[in-house]
Amino acid sequence: MTDEQKHSLSLAVIEGNAVQAREVAEQLLAGGMAPLAIVDDVLSPAMDEVGLRYDTGDFFIPDLVMAGEAMKAAMEVVGPALKAREQVRTTPGTVVIGTVAGDIHEIGKSLVATMLEAAGFVVYDLGTDVTVETFVAKVHETGANVVGLSALLTTTMRNQETVIEALVEAGLRDSVKVIIGGAPTSPAWGERIGADAYAENARQAVEVVRDLLGAS
C-alpha cells in the first residue's frame, strides 16, 4: 500500500496535481511514514524528475509552476509533521535570490527559488526590482552561502555586476557564491563580472548551486 501511495504522491507532484499531492501526503503520514522520508524519498526525487523533463523539452514553464504548487501543497502537511517530530531536514545551504534593480521580471527567478527549495535549500526570495543594498543586507543577515541574481534586460544585467561589487565592498564576497541567470546573460557575462556560475534554467540552477557548495 505504501509503495503505491509513494508512487501516487510522486506522480501528483510531477503532474502538478496539488489536491492529490496533499491528500496522499496526509495518507502517508497517517500510515506512519516518517515525514523526512516523504521529503527525501518521494518529493525531492519527484521534483528532480520534473527538472529533467524540463531539460529534455517535455516540460515547460506551466509544468514547473504546477509541480511547484503540488510540492508546496504536500509540504503544507509534511512541514508541520517534521516540526512536531523535531526532525530537521539537513539543508545543503541558504540562498538569497532576487531580480536586480530596475527589472520586474519575476517568473524565471521564482522557478529557480521553487526548485532550490524543493532540493532542500533554505531560500530567501527578495522578489523583483531588488536594490543592491537589500541584497547585501539579506546576505549579511542570513549568512547565505549563495546569492542568485536574475536579469532579463540588457540594461539591467549590469546591475548583477553592481551587486557583486557591493558584496566585495561589504567584505562578504569570500563567504558567498554568486550565481546569475536571465535571458540576455551567459557564462561569458558571468565570468566577466566575477560571478561564480551561470545557469540557463531552474533545473540547471539546482545542479550548479549543489556543485558550488560541494553538495550532492
Partner: protein, 290 residues
Amino acid sequence: MDIVTRLREGPVLVADGAMGTMLQDLDIPPGTPGEVLVMQQPEAILSVHRTYVEAGAGLILSCSFGGTRTRLAHAGLGDQVAEVNRRAVALAREAAAGHAYVAGDIGPMGELLAPLGARTYDEAIDIFAEQASALAEAGVDVLYVETMASLDEARAAVEGARQAAPDLPLTVTLSFDTKGRTNMGVRPEQAAQALLDLGVTAIGANCGNTLEMTEAAVRKMHDVAPQALLIIKPNAGLPQMVEDEIVYDATPADMAALARRLVDEVGVRIVGGCCGSTPAHIAAIAQAVS
C-alpha cells in the same frame, strides 16, 4: 492604401527595429520602461522612431509594449493608461509623417494567468481592452500584439482588442525561445491554428532566442497555414560583450539574408527586428526585400 490591402497585395512591409536597446545610451536608470520616456523624454522616443523611418521602415510600432495597466503600475503610471498610450501613438505618428503605417504595440501584461497565477482570464481581457481602446482612439492603423508566450494570454489580448476596436486590423506574434516553442510550451503550429481560428489579420514570431529558432517557427506556421499572412521580427541574435558594450551578434547582413529567404520561400509579409536590432539592420532588410 489601408494596411490589410497592402499586406495582401502590396510589396513586403518592412517594420522597425528595437526601441528598448536603442535607448541604452540615454542617461536614465537601468530598466526604465519606454513608456516612462514617452512621458518624460518624448524627444528621445521620437528620434528613434525617425531613424527607423529614415532607414526604410514602413511600419512603426508605438512605444507602448508595456502600456497595460499591470505593467504601467510598476512605474507608478497604472492610472494613466489612456494618456501614455495616446502619447506613444502620437510620437509614432509624428515620426511616420505619412510615410509609414503606425501599429499600436501591445506586449504581455507581465503576470501569469490562472491557474498558474492569480490573474483571471476575464481580468486579462479587460486589461488588454483598456490599452487597445486607448491605442485605437489615438488612431493606429493596426493593433499589434507581440512577444506572447502563453496562448491563453494571446487569446485574451485578441478578445480585448476586439472588444475595444472590432474593426481594426489585428496581428499577433509570439516569442519562440525554448526548444522551438514559447517558454510556456506553445508550438508554432498550435499558435497558428488557434490564432487563425480567431480571425486575426496576420500572425508570426518576434523576439525569440536565435535567428534560426525564430525562422524555424515561422516556417512551421507556414507549413500548417500556407494562406496566413506572416510576420517575422526577430532579435538580432544573442547579446555578447564586445569591449564594454553589449551587442547582439546578428549583423545587418545576417538579418537581411533571413528576410530575403523568408519572403521568397514562405511569402512573409512583414519583416523587422526586435531586441538588439538597429536602423542599420532595418536598412539592410529594406534593401534586401525591395
